[in-house]
């Protein structure tokens, strides 16, 4: 619009003369442009409302009412406030599930990030075959989760698993990876780390492409070794990329359900159940669904993710300031 006006200075005079008449016209035009803007935003708003807001609202509603199978069908479940949340918090499963969720999330992310970063730095040296090898590392990401999770669960099988066989070859007693309550959580974490490494590798590697090569040259001239270059250049310059990688990883990992469900069903007992698997079990895992408490656990999970999201925004603001 502005460009058009600059292009046609001669018309400006005429326009000024007609300024009085133009005032309502301009207002009309502004209103119309606002409507156009709204029309452009409308599909997005409709999409957000239909696929994000409404499900969220329904989930909150589910968690605040006493849904039995009967009232679920008839739709007249009584409002019970925080009762479902109280039930869930008082449940003996809650403590362990929360602890498992946190251990699962933080141990997974720590290893995924460290290994992903190491591999990214390694592949950044552009040796021969580097692109091929890097592509191979993406395989865990490309495989359907049901395939990788089932494969891990076979590998960890206590009767005929390849992991126990390897241990046997080097003379270590077999471990009941998925059948012992001491090892089940470790097993699903190992599998999850393997699945998450490519994601960290790809994002950190692309972050590395933005670090100017001159910095390394200058540092080398000043006599900085490889470790110092990493500590003083690579790591600080990767900080924004690292932050988003960690946050995304966190949100993804908090809600991991399929991997654990396929490998161990959260068992044995509750040994590897997290808030996500517990929520599913409450809602769909038995013959008599308990939608209310299941939704309550889901909401708690959303809250935890939200807290970390806000934390991220805060850290990012401070970095920008």
């Amino acid at each position: 619009m502005t460009l058009a006006r600059v292009d046609r200075p001669r018309r400006a005079a005429a326009a000024k003369a007609a300024a009085l008449d133009a005032l309502p016209l301009r207002r009309r035009r502004r209103r119309r442009s606002r409507l156009t803007a709204l029309a452009f935003v409308a599909p997005l708003i409709a999409y957000l409302a239909a696929f994000y807001l409404y499900p969220l609202y329904r989930n909150l509603d589910l968690s605040l009412r006493d849904y039995t199978v009967r009232s679920f069908v008839s739709g007249d479940a009584p409002f019970t406030g925080w009762d479902n949340f109280r039930t869930v918090l008082d449940d003996p499963t809650f403590g362990p599930a929360l602890r498992h969720t946190l251990v699962f999330t933080f141990v997974s992310i720590a290893f995924q990030y460290v290994v992903g970063l190491a591999l990214a730095v390694f592949f950044n040296r552009h040796f021969r075959l580097a692109p091929t090898l890097r592509a191979l590392f993406l395989i865990p990401w490309l495989l359907p989760l049901i395939v990788s999770a089932s494969t891990w669960s076979w590998m960890f099988n206590s009767e005929s698993g390849v992991v126990d066989y390897a241990l046997h070859v080097v003379g270590v007693d077999p471990v009941g990876w998925l059948t012992s309550p001491d090892w089940a959580l470790t097993s699903v974490i190992v599998a999850n780390i393997w699945i998450g490494i490519p994601f960290n590798l790809v994002i950190l590697y692309s972050g590395l492409q933005n670090v100017p090569a001159e910095l390394y040259e200058a540092a080398a001239l000043d006599g900085a070794g490889a470790w110092q270059q990493f500590r003083r250049i690579t790591f600080p310059l990767l900080r924004p990329v690292s932050a988003i990688t960690l946050l995304l990883g966190l949100v993804y990992t908090l809600k991991v359900f399929d991997l654990i469900w396929i490998m161990s069903k959260g068992g044995p007992g509750d040994a590897s159940s997290t808030l996500a698997t517990w929520s599913y079990r409450l809602g769909f895992g038995t013959l008599l669904p308990r939608f209310g408490p299941g939704a309550a656990v889901g909401n708690i999970l959303i809250l935890i993710a939200l807290v970390f999201g806000l934390l991220y925004i805060r850290v990012q603001r401070r970095q920008e300031a």
């Binding site: 039995t68 199978v69 009967r70 679920f72 069908v73 008839s74 739709g75 003996p92 669960s153 099988n157 206590s158 009767e159 009941g176 998925l178 059948t179 012992s180 309550p181 161990s264 069903k265 959260g266 068992g267 044995p268 007992g269 509750d270 040994a271 079990r281 769909f284 895992g285 038995t286 013959l287 008599l288 669904p289």
Partner: protein, 411 residues
């Protein structure tokens, strides 16, 4: 701007016309069959429209003069799908569901009593239809029944010097397992997974000790769980029973290394393909005799419809699906035992291997029977958790079942 908007409008109009055209086409296709379309759901995704089962279903539609639209869901998914559909007011006309789900759906108020529909269920075995009855009223017609037994590998047993006829109670079974183990083979495999399957497989032992589902931590319940725990601890059963579904447990047995496998009627077809001689005995009770086993199998149910005029046709469809001739054919396809004595006799004549299973089904008990109804799911979940906790070595049988009982009482 204006031309684009015009094009957009034109495009929208075109799409709209197309949509209404296809809608018309859909409508006319549906009204092609004289009586309209009736929806039918079942938990057999393994059978497609070209399978014997799929054809039988559509033939029952044709015979009643309607189009029967069949949709197959995974069995664990079907109950929730049914609840959702009922909530939206579009439940199917006929639905085949696993028997313990019936009481949940009745609790939700979405199933019709068979007596209200005027369906004849007199010829059906009491204990089989009892698995789908709530407060004495049946809410469906069983399509067939299955249950659990002990498959054994003849070669492994004879190599270990065990006579299968000697297995009469728990102590003789454990002794047989020990003999097999010392002969260098593996004892028994079953499924103790943390789902309904785990409870299903544990129930014959629990009931075989005289256990009562309303009192999980009684001495009898503890005895049953201790038996399983002792087997796993002594290496008579593999540790991975904790992860085994009934299918993976069958695959273990089919390797030919195991002497016994606890599994269901539905594996008979696979047993013939396993490549070794096998036999079947009933699961022994603690002190001899056959243990009561849980009834498996599906019920033909009729969900409540707003348009009650549909029931007339629905009733005919159900009658067709559960007619003696069709039961014989369906239960042969599914390797189920028919719920009607006359058809059972016919089945045994065709396949003598079904004989022990007919006896087992006659002694079977519904999981939701005995007035448990929807209490059963709230007992079953703590029960399988207890089995997992005890077998994994996390807890003793007693303390695992104490926790389970406390959980079951809370509901």
């Amino acid at each position: 701007m204006i031309p684009t908007r015009r094009t957009l409008l034109a495009a929208l109009a075109a799409v709209g016309t197309l949509a209404s055209l296809t809608a018309c086409a859909g409508g006319s296709a549906a009204s092609g069959a004289a009586g309209g379309t009736y929806a039918f759901w079942d938990p057999y995704p393994q059978f497609d429209a070209a399978s014997a089962w799929g054809k039988r279903v559509s033939r029952c539609g044709t015979e009643t003069g309607v189009t029967l639209k069949r949709t197959a869901y995974d069995t664990t998914d079907l109950g929730n799908k049914a609840l959702l559909a009922a909530q939206q007011g579009n439940a199917p006309d006929v639905m085949l569901v696993d028997n313990p789900v019936v009481s949940t759906l009745v609790e939700a108020g979405i199933l019709n009593k068979t007596s209200d529909l005027g369906l004849d269920t007199k010829s059906i075995q009491q204990n089989i239809i009892g698995a789908g009855a709530v407060d004495g009223a049946a809410y469906g017609v069983p399509i067939g029944a299955n249950t659990l037994g002990l498959y054994y590998n003849k070669k492994v047993l004879s190599a270990a010097g065990v006579d299968p006829a000697s297995v009469k109670d728990w102590s003789s079974l454990t002794a047989a397992l020990q003999k097999v183990k010392s002969a260098g083979k593996k004892g028994i495999t079953f499924s103790a997974i943390g789902t309904e399957e785990g409870s299903f497989q544990f129930l014959p032992w629990f009931w075989g000790a005289g256990g009562d589902l309303t009192e999980l931590n009684s001495a009898k319940g503890v005895a049953a769980l201790s038996l399983w725990k002792q087997w796993v601890d002594d290496g008579l059963a593999p540790k991975d029973v904790l992860q085994n579904t009934q299918t993976t447990s069958w695959q273990e047995f089919a390797t030919g290394d195991y002497a016994f496998g606890e599994n269901g009627t539905w594996q008979l077809g696979n047993a013939d393909k396993a490549g070794f001689d096998y036999g079947v005995i009933s699961i022994p009770a603690q002190n001899g005799g056959s243990a009561p086993v849980p009834t498996g199998g599906e019920f033909v149910t009729v969900p409540v419809q707003k348009d009650t005029a549909r029931y007339d046709v629905t009733k005919k469809i159900v009658a067709c699906l559960t007619s003696d001739a069709n039961l014989l054919a369906s239960d042969t396809t599914l390797t189920y035992v028919a719920p009607v004595a006359a058809v059972q006799a016919e089945q045994v004549k065709q396949n003598p291997k079904l004989k022990p299973w007919v006896a087992a089904v006659a002694a079977a008990r519904g999981r939701t029977s005995g007035g448990l109804g929807t209490k059963y799911p709230t007992i079953s979940q703590p029960l399988w958790t207890a089995v997992q906790a005890a077998l994994s070595g996390g807890k003793s049988a007693q303390s695992a079942l104490d926790t389970a009982q406390a959980g079951a009482q809370k509901g």
